[in-house]
């Protein structure tokens, strides 16, 4: 529906890896992160920190991630699927 620039097919696992590596430096304490990790509950990120992290991911994946899409996201897996979906809209 919406062209997002260069179309790239990305494996979901690859996106998850990218998210985890981007998250690392923003966390107060190191945590083991998996696709099932709950972003607010398990990582202790407040809503503002989540929105700031989303900006980092937007730049990393060169996509727009609208805030209302973030509202639906609970886990790292959800976030990766959202990004995959947004990138796939070429």
């Amino acid at each position: 529906m919406i062209p997002w620039g260069d179309f790239m097919t990305a494996d979901l696992n690859e996106i998850v890896e990218e998210i985890i590596s981007a998250l690392g430096p923003t966390l107060p304490t190191p945590v083991t992160i998996t696709t099932d990790t709950n972003i607010t509950r398990d990582l202790g990120l407040d809503s503002l920190a989540v929105m700031d992290f989303v900006m980092v991911l937007e730049d990393k994946f060169d996509v727009s991630i609208p805030l209302e899409r973030i509202a639906e996201v609970e886990t790292i897996g959800d976030l990766a699927r959202t990004i995959q979906d947004l990138r796939g809209r070429a």
Partner: protein, 404 residues
């Protein structure tokens, strides 16, 4: 499980904060003596956190106009303008504001919060995109929650970042509305509006500037940041408030779009709330007049801002990037900020304690707002009290040992 159980954590951190001293979120003044002095716990206290930039809350001509309207038109309109109709004053104030900004149209809202909430959420429809600064005021974030369109954030005061984000959206067919603020309410920093205006032109977006804290403060005639940096023609919507420089309560939006008035029957925060009482309309209208008649107020305000900013900075405090009427001192921890705020209050100085998540970059801030009505002596007293409490708490650089 009670319906309030979800606030357990909030209650705990609130109680912890209040336990350090007085509760900063429920300060109760026993009396207000002037725009710059109140009575708190039985003592005269300097008010340095009221956004009363021009000090017009006790202006005799504003009070007279308010009393006159109160006597002649009663205490309230008891309903919304679409249901109960408008009084002459609502229209007069809209005309005066439109004239002041050199625009065709103006809508007056019951609060500044509702002006942002209503205008932004109504302008941005489901196929449009709202693009907001990351450090936006809560009213803009709440508008973002309310809109049916997409919402994208850009990094605070970063025109390149805005450009990058608009570029990603360049193939999106919807209208884009970029929202920035003239002066940001926490640190007193101004938006790089010239650069934002250029990005807006290149991207073909609409631009809204919230001049809540810059109206009456910036610009040759007090119209705000857009006037100050000469980009008014690029600003499609200006939102502002009567609750700061104009010393009352209420909000407005001015614009030149020919069909702007259709919003009066589309914008729910305008339609479904009671309109401002006649006395508030009357004092706001008179304050707008006073602001225009007396540019000296703005000069005094700016001199006071500079005095406080330089004074605190010279003591070694970490202040914001510009000497605006909002002067915020950043402290290393929340606990220290709370203790500092209590120390100042006990010494007779009232200002705002601002804590995360209401602050940018999770800063713990002591937020002052200067008024044209402050005397230089009051500003100097405030600086001296900052110095005393700062030394006592070991905050000031090089005085950590001395504080022991």
């Amino acid at each position: 499980m009670t319906i309030l159980a979800k606030f357990t954590q909030l209650r705990e951190s609130y109680q912890k904060m209040a336990a350090i001293g007085r509760d900063p979120f429920s300060v109760r003044f026993e009396g207000i003596l002037s725009p710059t002095e109140g009575v708190l716990n039985g003592r005269r206290t300097i008010l340095l956190g009221t956004n009363n930039y021009l000090g017009l809350t006790f202006d005799q001509s504003c009070i007279d106009k308010g009393v006159e309207a109160l006597v002649e038109q009663g205490t309230g309109t008891t309903g919304s303008r679409i249901a109960n109709g408008s009084y002459a004053g609502h229209g007069d104030l809209e005309t005066a504001l439109a004239d002041f900004y050199g625009r065709q149209h103006c809508m007056v809202f019951t609060t500044g919060y509702q002006a942002n909430l209503g205008i932004i959420s109504t302008l941005v429809g489901k196929d449009d995109i709202l693009v907001i600064d990351g450090d936006s005021h809560a009213s803009i974030y709440d508008a973002a929650k309310m809109t049916t369109g997409q919402v994208v954030r850009f990094r605070h005061n970063d025109p390149d970042d805005l450009y990058k984000r608009l570029r990603r959206l360049s193939d999106h067919p919807g209208n884009k509305l970029v929202v920035v603020e003239g002066i940001y309410s926490m640190l007193g920093d101004t938006a790089p509006l010239k650069e934002f205006a250029q990005v807006k032109r290149e991207a073909g977006a609409f631009l809204m500037v919230d001049e809540a804290h810059s109206m009456g403060v910036l610009g040759a005639t007090g119209r705000g940041l857009a006037e100050e940096v000469g980009v008014e023609a690029d600003v499609d919507f200006i939102v502002g408030t009567f609750s700061k420089s104009l010393g009352a309560v209420g909000g407005f939006c001015v614009a030149d779009l020919p069909d702007f008035d259709i919003l009066r029957v589309a914008c729910r925060p305008y339609m479904f709330t009671a309109s401002l009482p006649p006395s508030v309309i009357a004092t706001s209208l008179q304050a707008l007049k006073r602001m225009q008649e007396e540019p000296g107020l703005r000069l005094r305000l700016n001199a006071n801002s500079r005095r406080l900013y330089d004074g605190l900075r010279n003591l070694g405090f970490q202040v914001g990037p510009v000497a605006n009427p909002i002067v915020a001192v950043a402290l290393p921890t929340k606990e220290l900020a709370i203790a500092f705020w209590n120390g100042l209050l006990e010494a007779g100085l009232y200002l705002n304690l601002a804590l995360p998540p209401a602050t940018p970059n999770s800063l713990a801030l002591l937020r002052s707002s200067v008024s044209a009505a402050h005397t230089p002596q009051q500003i100097d007293t405030a600086i001296e009290l900052f110095a005393q409490v700062g030394r006592r708490l070991g905050v000031l650089p090089g005085m950590v040992q001395a504080a022991e």
